[in-house]
């Protein structure tokens, strides 16, 4: 299957400052991609380059196999067949909901326009709001209208710039799932930009983690968590600590808390020193264990406690324990390792 969007070795500069470098990814039709990264990592610039708001300094962008950006070439935004949902929604305040949704359908016949508007309003669950004006809507409603407006002309690709950032935190995941359902219903190819990994996990099929203008890893949410490609991804996605270990053989390393079985990168000599990633759920609280650590800090999270533990060597690990295991600060508790995925980095 050919891809709907191809970004090949994209480079973007502001004057002489390199904002993006060697950005490459592609997206198949009907898939939802996500660019995830901390603020200032350049993720919005990727989106704006795809939209045609920023010219490419190098590399190229293809939408539906048609080149729209390359060095010294930039197809105007309005000719790219894209749709975009903005962080502030950017609904036209002087137009009704129906007219906002209709805005991109200028070339359609008026009957088609009317049908399409009705269809979309029904899809976003607001069939009776056609005559309402943006200022009369709640944030969530405005967001859905913005989505309907962007999808109305059936764009080749839908771009979403932090679409949930102005929402209540409690609503974000629910809205993200709703949006996913709508996108899947219309079979839209979409890209989401966000700094919130929960949003990314809830909405996207594939996630690119970005930092400092470069893609760090492109994978599923599960793999980003369990098989991070580098220290940045390991640190950015989920929680965890990195502790020293010694290679025992091709299938195990030895840590202070015992051996961990898993795939050791080929070429790591026996006895060489490496670092391994330990997630909080890799450390199990077990009163019968001979390995112990002292509780330094703890935070109550409802169903469980997140304990910050210091071992005798001074190395600290995180441990997720069911919430009925309520231990005091400075108490010594038993722990053992239960690692499903061995993640090894070279010793820094």
């Amino acid at each position: 299957m050919t891809s709907q969007l191809d970004v090949e070795d994209l480079e973007v500069r502001y004057d002489d400052y390199v904002v993006l470098k060697a950005i490459s990814f592609s997206l198949k039709p009907g898939k939802i991609g996500c660019i995830l990264g901390p603020s200032g990592c350049g993720k919005t610039t990727v989106l704006r380059a795809i939209a045609g708001f920023e010219p490419a300094y190098g590399g190229r962008i293809l939408i539906d196999r048609v080149e729209v950006s390359s060095r010294d070439y930039c197809v105007a935004t309005e000719k790219r067949n894209i749709g975009m949902v903005f962080q502030d929604f950017a609904l036209f305040p002087h137009l009704s909901v129906a007219d906002n949704v209709r805005f991109g359908l200028k070339s359609w016949s008026s009957r088609e326009q009317k049908e399409r508007v009705q269809e979309l309003l029904a899809m976003i669950g607001m069939p009776a709001y056609g005559q309402a004006f943006p200022h009369q809507l709640s944030g969530g409603q405005q967001q859905r209208v913005a989505l309907a407006r962007a999808m109305a002309p059936r764009p080749g690709i839908l771009l979403m710039d932090e679409p949930f950032s102005s929402m209540d935190i409690d609503l974000r995941e629910q809205l993200a799932r709703e949006v996913r359902n709508i996108l899947k219903q219309e079979n839209v190819t979409a890209i989401l930009v966000t700094h919130d990994q929960n949003e990314a996990f809830a909405l996207a099929d594939e996630i690119c983690v970005m930092n400092e203008g470069r893609i760090q890893q492109q994978d599923s949410g599960y793999n980003l968590y369990h098989r991070p490609a580098n220290r940045f991804v390991a640190d950015f996605i989920g929680q965890g600590v990195i502790i020293p270990a010694t290679v025992e053989n091709e299938h195990s390393v030895r840590t202070e808390l015992g051996s961990i079985e898993g795939e050791v990168p080929p070429g790591s000599a026996k006895g060489s020193l490496v670092d391994v990633l330990i997630r909080p759920d890799d450390v199990v609280h077990d009163d019968s264990s001979s390995d112990t650590a002292i509780v330094v800090e703890k935070s109550f999270r409802g169903a469980d406690f997140l304990y910050f533990l210091r071992m005798d060597s001074g190395i600290e690990v995180l441990c997720l324990a069911p919430s009925h295991h309520d231990h005091k600060i400075n108490e010594r508790i038993g722990i053992r390792l239960n690692v499903d995925h061995l993640v090894i980095f070279e010793r820094s």
Partner: protein
């Protein structure tokens, strides 16, 4: 972000947009460039004659006039601004906006109104003689038609510039700095002199620069009072001595004064931006004035209003009641029609050009366009007299060149094709007032978030399409304001119209000035009153907007 190196798949219009803006900016700079070039051109006998005789007078009078108006506008503007921003006294709410009313009163109108009231044959001196039995020469009465009189007239109508900017600056000052100064042992007045006034200084200087630009641009008042300054000198040299080169040279020197003021004004405005030390704005401390102090505050605010607007407006109304039956006839209606048509068509053109340039600046985001708009923006500071001379010289050259070419080639005389037509008049108006309309349009545009443009473009609409479907509906208010301000400015404009108007073509302003110059003061009142009344419209808009503006609230 458009980089000239990038091939954008833009429409023909978009390709021609930037060159179009550059060309527009160039065309509207021609008058100023023409005048500026005379600084470097060799001079003739008449210029030498001017240097030997009147130039020193022009310089001295201009400088004295500027010093006087600077002092007058400063004292009235800052006092009223301080009282209406940081004090509480009876009638304050009313004064806040009525203090702007003198803006509606053109200086030349107030000048001849006061002459009518206070000169030897006027009602005031006649009354004094009736009461005392004195005759001519028996008593001293200040002469209205003098340099001092001109200073008072101009100060009375120009102080609102200082008032407006100073008041905004006082209101923007965070309460903290004033309270800190009080805890450090300053009383009300020392905290004003040592903290509030220095903090507001850039704004006050900017306001005074604007008032002084208007002073340098004034022709009606100084001409009516017979004072030799640059503007009157340009007229005398042009029409009396018939030397356009020497007139242009005078204009060039005046232009140097104007540019100095422009630099001072822009520099002050930039400095004003850095003067906010904190972003905390709580309710301003208010000095509640009672008894004698409240009375003094009331009188201090009443004086500029009374003498700058109420009294002259009252006198004009009395005259108009006396004379309207004779003066308002078919020729008066023709006058109004001319003025309205000229004002409207100039306003519409100015707003169209302003949209072309300001929206281009937003869409193209190029440094060249940015610079072009800054160049055009200088026009508001250039006196109408300079612009008129700067328009007529290139137009006459164009007409003569075309005429002689057509005669040689085709034996046809095209005569004066452009100079002496309404084209020349409107061109001069646009040079002067385009900046005003651009400013108003831009203030509307910046309120529309860039994501609106991007959303519309992502929905497949072209920039021009977006202007009409998104921006114009959202900035109706600013566009109407721009139309109104240009319309009113055109209606009040005097010197450029006097120089450039076609033969037998009059506007209300020109007619009022002509009648007043013929000592038919009462007869001129109908036209003058009309100018004042229409001029009140933008002042009311302005007063509405300042009433609701207060940073942080």
């Amino acid at each position: 972000m458009i980089n000239s190196k990038i091939r954008f798949s833009a429409s023909l219009f978009e390709r021609l947009w930037q060159p179009g803006i550059l060309l527009t900016a160039f065309v509207f700079s021609i008058p100023v460039l023409t005048i500026a070039s005379f600084l470097f051109l060799p001079t003739g006998d008449i210029w030498q004659h001017l240097v030997d005789t009147v130039l020193a007078d022009y310089l001295l009078n201009s400088v004295l006039l500027m010093i006087g108006v600077a002092l007058g506008t400063f004292s009235m503007g800052v006092t009223c601004a301080w009282l209406t921003s940081l004090c509480e006294f009876p009638g304050k709410k009313l004064f806040i906006w009525t203090l702007l009313l003198p803006l509606a009163m053109p200086a030349y109108i107030i000048a001849y109104t006061y002459t009518g009231m206070f000169d030897f044959a006027g009602p005031v001196q006649t009354q004094i003689r009736d009461w005392t039995g004195w005759g001519y020469g028996d008593y001293y009465f200040p002469e209205v038609r003098s340099l001092g009189g001109a200073i008072v007239m101009l100060s009375l109508v120009l102080y609102p510039y200082v008032y407006l900017l100073a008041r905004a600056a006082f209101l923007e000052q965070s309460v903290c700095v004033i309270e800190v100064s009080r805890t450090l042992g300053c009383n009300v007045w020392t905290s004003f002199y040592r903290v509030a006034l220095p903090l507001a200084r850039p704004a006050i200087v900017a306001g005074m620069s604007l008032a002084l630009m208007e002073t340098l641009a004034d022709y009606g008042t100084v001409s009516y009072f017979g004072i030799g300054v640059f503007t009157t000198g340009i007229f005398r040299t042009w029409f009396g001595l018939g030397d356009s080169g020497a007139a242009a040279k005078l204009a060039a020197i005046l232009l140097l004064f104007v540019f100095t003021l422009v630099v001072v004004e822009r520099w002050s405005r930039q400095r004003a931006q850095y003067h906010h030390t904190t972003n905390r704005y709580s309710k301003l401390p208010v000095y509640r004035l009672t008894g004698a102090r409240a009375l003094i505050a009331c009188i201090a605010c009443l004086m500029p209003l009374l003498f700058g607007f109420l009294l002259p407006a009252f006198q004009l109304s009395l005259w108009a009641i006396d004379t309207y039956a004779v003066m308002i006839d078919s020729s008066f209606y023709k006058l109004v029609l001319h003025t309205v048509l000229l004002g409207l068509s100039t306003a519409v053109l100015a707003v169209m050009l302003a949209l072309f340039m300001a929206y281009g600046k937003r869409v193209l985001a190029s440094k060249l366009v940015f610079a072009s708009i800054r160049v055009v923006a200088i026009g508001y500071a250039v006196p109408g007299t300079i612009i008129a001379v700067g328009v007529i010289i290139p137009l006459t050259w164009f007409d003569n060149t075309l005429d002689s070419y057509m005669r040689e080639q085709f034996d046809i005389s095209t005569g004066l094709l452009l100079s002496g037509t309404l084209f020349a008049v409107m061109f001069a108006y646009l040079v002067r007032f385009l900046a005003v309309s651009i400013q108003s349009v831009e203030s509307g545009l910046v309120k529309i978030k860039p994501s609106m443009d991007e959303a519309a473009r992502s929905l497949g609409r072209k920039p021009t399409d977006i202007l009409f479907n998104v921006h114009l509906p959202l900035m109706k208010g600013s566009v109407l304001t721009a139309l109104l301000i240009v319309f009113v400015d055109v209606m009040k404009e005097l010197p450029a119209t006097l120089i450039l108007r076609p033969f037998n073509f009059n506007t209300l302003a020109v007619r009022a000035f002509e009648l007043a110059s013929d000592e038919r003061l009462a007869d001129s009142s109908s036209a003058a009153l009309m100018i004042v009344v229409v001029g009140l419209l933008p002042v009311i808009l302005l007063s509405k907007s300042i009433a609701s503006s207060r940073a942080g609230s």
